[in-house]
Symmetry: C2
Subunit: 342 residues, 2 copies
DNA sequence: GTGAAAGCGCTAACAC
DNA sequence: GTGTTAGCGCTTTCAC
């Protein structure tokens, strides 16, 4: 059988209660005893038993506060599914969740939401934010107060976040380029790239990965245009149409953002007389439909549901001291084609 | 708070022990009370608490017997990784595993192994077998004795297995065909198909899916040859070389089995003057190397690690009556390219 | 600062 | 066939 608190108590000559306190960072224990017990636990390979802990402290549920800009954003549907799935799995092990959904990425609103989550008793947070000093400060501040933050989908390196769960945007771009190379190697590539915002780090990384891989593969390519759709369908449609008109030679379209695809689809359908190879990102409903209808050739997805699931699982492991310090979890870059949606 | 045994006991006017027995299919309880309690549990939405159960009956670990033909078969490496991962997750919740690895697929040997697993106390089994009356009988026999079998990677429909965890072979073939179409649409496709054994159901399904999708896509194709590599490197190399020699026009190779890839690789390298588009299956070490070295263009994978993980998780859910009756778990069909391995 | 003990939900052994 | 109870590993009062 595995080592229990009782064993540690016996071995160290103190009571089982003291051992528990020492191992749980309570400062009611003298530094000396505490140190001794931790040492011993290490040596004997003590692993806390989740069942015992969950049972005991179930009046003391760990509430995770989740703050995501998911209102009117279908991208987050699967993330929420993953969170639900994890919750089903971990609820009776002492974990629960409070979600604050928001519309858009305004840092001030997010910080307000976090503060509300704090007042409702959360001590651990999942955040999906853009890079801003406000947010960066908030994360470090929370950490200083003994709270933990996991960043979801978009990392903010240099902050004191516990870890990051999300995709490798550079790789996503590289995979897209690989597909372009495999499918269009025998023609001169005249490429249109569509992003949401040129400053958006994720989109930027995708574009960088895309171009670097085309280069690495010695493709005969030319980036005809890089346009911004502002993550909105109508704008995306307009700028794409404009680009098609100005550059009828475009034969490849790489859409490096998941938002605004409807607009892209509309533009392509409107200019159907030019046959183009199209790659999109992220598996949302509209994108699936476009693939099903042969408007888009490939989608490069980012295992969204897994991200939702892992963010909770990471906290579960963290609370239960399972494994070492939490590491970043980079999800798979997944290529999907029509067949996947049939 | 959620409903507990105590609540049920109070509500139904019997003792907590009786409730527990009634809910655990013990036949020491009168049919009437049993029925009444189950009814009540249903109404009140009782969900057993895993922590309590695990803690209580931890001397009564559920041993899962696993019987897989994994010796000298790198394909099973990731499956074993998935099993390990699940075990780390569920061990302190009352689940453990006994593995009997075998070399090859001999049904008689497998049945022997199962019997050994039974004598070592297993009451639940994970099996990866070929279709044979012996195995089919054994599965139904086990079920009749109140034991449960989950089939891994290869289903045997019509048997009384609890459920199946594995890939959709037909879809795998279809995805392969989709890739061929996307990458080679502008040439006459002269296709060589390599299987392990023509009777192997999984390989057969892949080939069927492959051809049906080529047809659905109106490809200009011709299946030049379908050859058997007997899942061995040397044989695969020989038959492939022979086919290349007889049909130098072959410009596409679809390898519908994961075993024998080294042989395929050798054949392609030996005949490098003919540039060919190559698709392989299953992500094992050798295949990765071939992709990295641009010998193979795509691999169609079957999320092997997930299969190992899910097989254990399914049993965990089953033992703890989480969710409804176990459903089949069909893993994702995953396309991988060089970039994925860098 | 530390020990003793109650109790979380559940199962199984022991009464009757 | 059913009630009673000990105890699984752990946290957390409540004493001292």
């Amino acid at each position: 059988m595995s080592v229990t608190l009782k064993d540690l108590a016996k071995a160290s000559g103190v009571s089982i209660g003291t051992v528990s306190r020492a191992l749980n960072d309570k400062n009611e224990v003298s530094a000396k005893t505490s140190e001794r017990i931790r040492q011993l636990a290490q040596e004997l390979g003590y692993i806390p038993n989740r069942a015992g802990r969950a049972l005991s402290s179930q009046k003391n549920i760990n509430f995770i506060g989740i703050c995501i800009p998911s209102i009117n954003s279908p991208f987050f549907d699967d993330i929420k599914k993953g969170i639900d799935q994890a919750l089903r799995e971990f609820k009776d092990l002492g974990i629960d969740v409070v979600i604050k959904e928001q519309e858009g990425w305004d840092p001030k609103q997010q910080i307000e939401a976090i503060d509300q989550l704090i007042s409702s008793g959360c001590k651990a947070f999942v955040l999906c934010s853009v890079d801003s000093p406000l947010i960066r400060n908030k994360i470090d501040e929370l950490e200083a107060q003994g709270m933990a933050v996991i960043l979801l989908n978009n990392d903010l390196p240099g902050t004191k976040r516990l870890c990051f769960v999300g995709p490798d945007y550079v790789k996503s771009g590289k995979v897209a380029a690989t597909m372009v190379d495999k499918c269009c190697h025998n023609q001169k590539m005249k490429i249109l790239i569509v992003v949401g915002y040129k400053e958006h780090l994720g989109h930027k990384n995708r574009v960088d990965g895309f171009i670097s891989e085309l280069q690495a593969r010695n493709c005969d390519y030319q980036i005809v245009d890089i346009i911004e759709g502002k993550d909105q369908d109508i704008i995306t449609q307009q700028v794409t149409m404009k680009s098609f008109l100005a550059h009828p030679e475009i034969n490849i379209v790489y859409m490096a953002t998941g938002s605004g695809v409807s607009g892209l689809g509309a533009a392509i359908i409107a200019d159907a007389e030019h046959k183009r190879f199209v790659i999109a990102c992220d598996e949302i409903y509209t994108t699936k439909e476009l693939v099903k209808n042969d408007i888009v050739d490939f989608v490069i997805c980012q295992s969204t549901q897994t991200q939702g699931y892992q963010v909770i699982k990471k906290f579960h492991d963290y609370f239960n001291k399972i494994g070492d310090d939490p590491q970043d979890y980079i999800v798979d870059t997944v290529i999907k084609v029509k067949t996947h949606f049939e």
